[in-house]
Amino acid sequence: MIYRENGQFKTSYGADQQIFPIAQDRWAVLAIIAFAFIGVPLLADEYMFRAILIPFLILSLAALGVNLLVGYCGQITLGAGAFMAIGAYAAYNFLIRIDGMPLLGALILGGLTSAAMGILFGIPSLRVRGLYLAVATLAAQFFWDWAFLRIKWFTNDSSSGSVSVSNLDFFGWTIDAPAEKYLFCLGMLVVFGLLAKNMTRASIGRQWMAIRDMDVAAEVIGIRPMWAKLSAFAVSSFFVGVAGAMWGFVHLGSWEPAAFSVDRSFQLLFMVIIGGLGSIVGSFFGAAFIVILPIFLNQMLPALGGLFGVSISTAAVSHAELIIFGVLIVFFLIVEPHGLARLWATSKEKLRLWPFPH
């Protein structure tokens, strides 16, 4: 009864094309954002920030980037981790090699470097698709894994191979405490989320989706496949690169190439599958799910075992985690290929008609 659009008439196309055409949605989203900025910092403790909230925000950003490429443009990637790494190492090098480089500048430049590499490794997409493209992106993954491990220039000749960033300074605001890191990440995510949403509802987003749904027809109505695909690779890699830089700078502080291995790439892909391909909000759902599930299992399984008097080792928990992940992925692909976002949309649809479904 509460959630309906009766009486909300649009008198201009502008009003009809806003992000949330239904007033209740607008208020709800504003309330959630306000709560995230004001309420959460008051309520959460340090563990929540470090283990759940900050990883969730940064991985959401990365998943958003992957979703633009995989979900909107239909180009599969198994190399997202490498682009996180490129963003992180590029930002690191810009920060330490250029005096007075501001934090935001380094993050953006890291993202741009990643975007340039995204274009380079996206070139095969002009010739091949599907799993052949997956192989091309894997090539990026393995090449950059190797490069950041073996080419010492990237890590500023650090002897251990790990690099670290401290004293994050955002226009005079020192980002230090977990709550501050959280707020910084949240701010970035809101801005990038908005950018992504705008692109997907504009001409460029339609070009991506057209290429995804039917590339021959897209070309026939005048979409240049090269521009559409490479721009998707660039924008996606930019998002992922910025997320990578934030993962290194804000979340980890110091990191090694292993932080961005092929497992990270798979993880990001799963986020968008489970969350929902071709859905902005789905990226957030997917990231939340993948961040929280292992923590949940780690807490739950030993407790569950305790109930039956069985002690469950950490190895067993990690195996169980693998199994549950795998089963969930297959389950989602079979039952709901559009992921959590579709479930969300369906329930909203139902709610709109409730209590008079016919």
């Binding site: 799993l131 894997l138 549950i324 795998g326 290929p337």
Partner: protein, 309 residues
């Protein structure tokens, strides 16, 4: 010269093993259009089963006959792979018929995780040895041709022979038996095959079983060489460029692709590696495949795909 040949032969041997894993990919892709990312996990699963069964049977037999224990273990592992194939077909593939290639690829990624988790839960996650009595000592060959001769690993040699025999056997199976003919029919056109009464689901189970057996053989060879451990699962990632190079639908392509990649990796590592810091064999194969993709997307022996409007 002798050193170059040694490297070359070493590469060919390694390539034969890649070819074995790639063969698993090709078999499943040909018959069901699924690019089976889980092939590596299947190798791990099969090798774990083989290692542990052999250990258990050996203990049960009182350590008298390693050969008998190994034969029993092979049969048991084969049975396990059959069950795996059946479960995968029943629970996953059957429900994903007619989905896009990318969806299927992601589904097999999920299957990979499940297999890794289940395999390690049942069989443990330590490093295990498989001892099938392969000779370990290297032999010198061609001493009369080259000064100092060429050092060849007997184990590699036998492994290559087994792989070759397997490939020959599979080719015969595909060409000469009625099941093989049905398999090829299914590969060509699912619906047409279905309409003349070929049981699609049973065919898929058979294909996955065959791929499972191939995985078992690959697992035994790799396992007896390097020990059975989790890193075996990543063998799929190493063999991926092989199928791209050879063409996804071609059995000979898998073999030749495997050999090219094996040789390329070894040669690049030995002759190029020192200049760029080593460890390049991991991405070298991918770059080779990538360059190849740009010029001949269907691979060396794959079928050309023509889009129709």
């Amino acid at each position: 010269m002798a050193f170059f040949l040694e490297t070359l032969i070493g590469g060919l041997m390694a390539g034969m093993l890649y070819a074995l894993v790639a063969l698993g990919f090709v078999l499943i892709f040909k018959a069901s259009g699924v690019f089976n990312f889980a092939q590596g996990a299947m190798v791990l699963f099969a090798a774990l089963a083989m290692a542990r069964f052999s250990e258990w049977f050996n203990a049960a037999l009182g350590g008298d006959s390693l050969l008998l224990a190994n034969i029993l273990a092979f049969i048991a592992s084969g049975g396990v792979m059959f069950v795996v194939a059946w479960v995968i077909e029943r629970l996953a593939l059957r429900n994903l018929v007619n989905q896009e290639g990318a969806t299927l690829l992601m589904a097999t990624l999920g299957i990979t995780y499940v297999l890794e988790g289940v395999g390690q839960t049942i069989f443990g996650s330590e490093i295990y040895a498989i001892d099938v009595g392969m000779p370990k000592e290297p032999v010198m060959m061609f001493e009369n041709l080259f000064e100092g001769g060429i050092l060849i690993n007997k184990e590699d040699f036998i492994a290559a022979l087994i792989a070759a025999a397997l490939v020959a056997g599979l080719s015969l199976f595909f060409q000469k038996t009625s099941t093989g003919r049905a398999l090829r029919a299914v590969a060509d056109d699912h619906q047409a095959a279905l309409s003349i009464g070929i049981p699609l689901n049973r065919i898929w189970v058979i294909v996955w079983c065959v791929a499972g057996i191939v995985a078992l053989v690959a697992g035994i060879i790799w396992g007896s060489k390097l020990g059975v451990q989790f890193s075996l699962a990543t063998v799929a990632l190493r063999a991926l460029p092989v199928v791209i190079l050879g063409g996804l639908t071609s059995v000979p392509g898998a073999i030749i692709g495997g050999l090219i990649i094996g040789v390329g990796e070894k040669l690049s590592e030995v002759y190029l590696g020192p200049y760029v810091g080593g460890g390049i064999e991991i991405w070298f194969a991918y770059m080779l495949a990538l360059v190849f993709l740009l010029f001949r997307p269907q691979g060396l022996f794959g079928e050309k795909i023509i889009d129709r409007v």
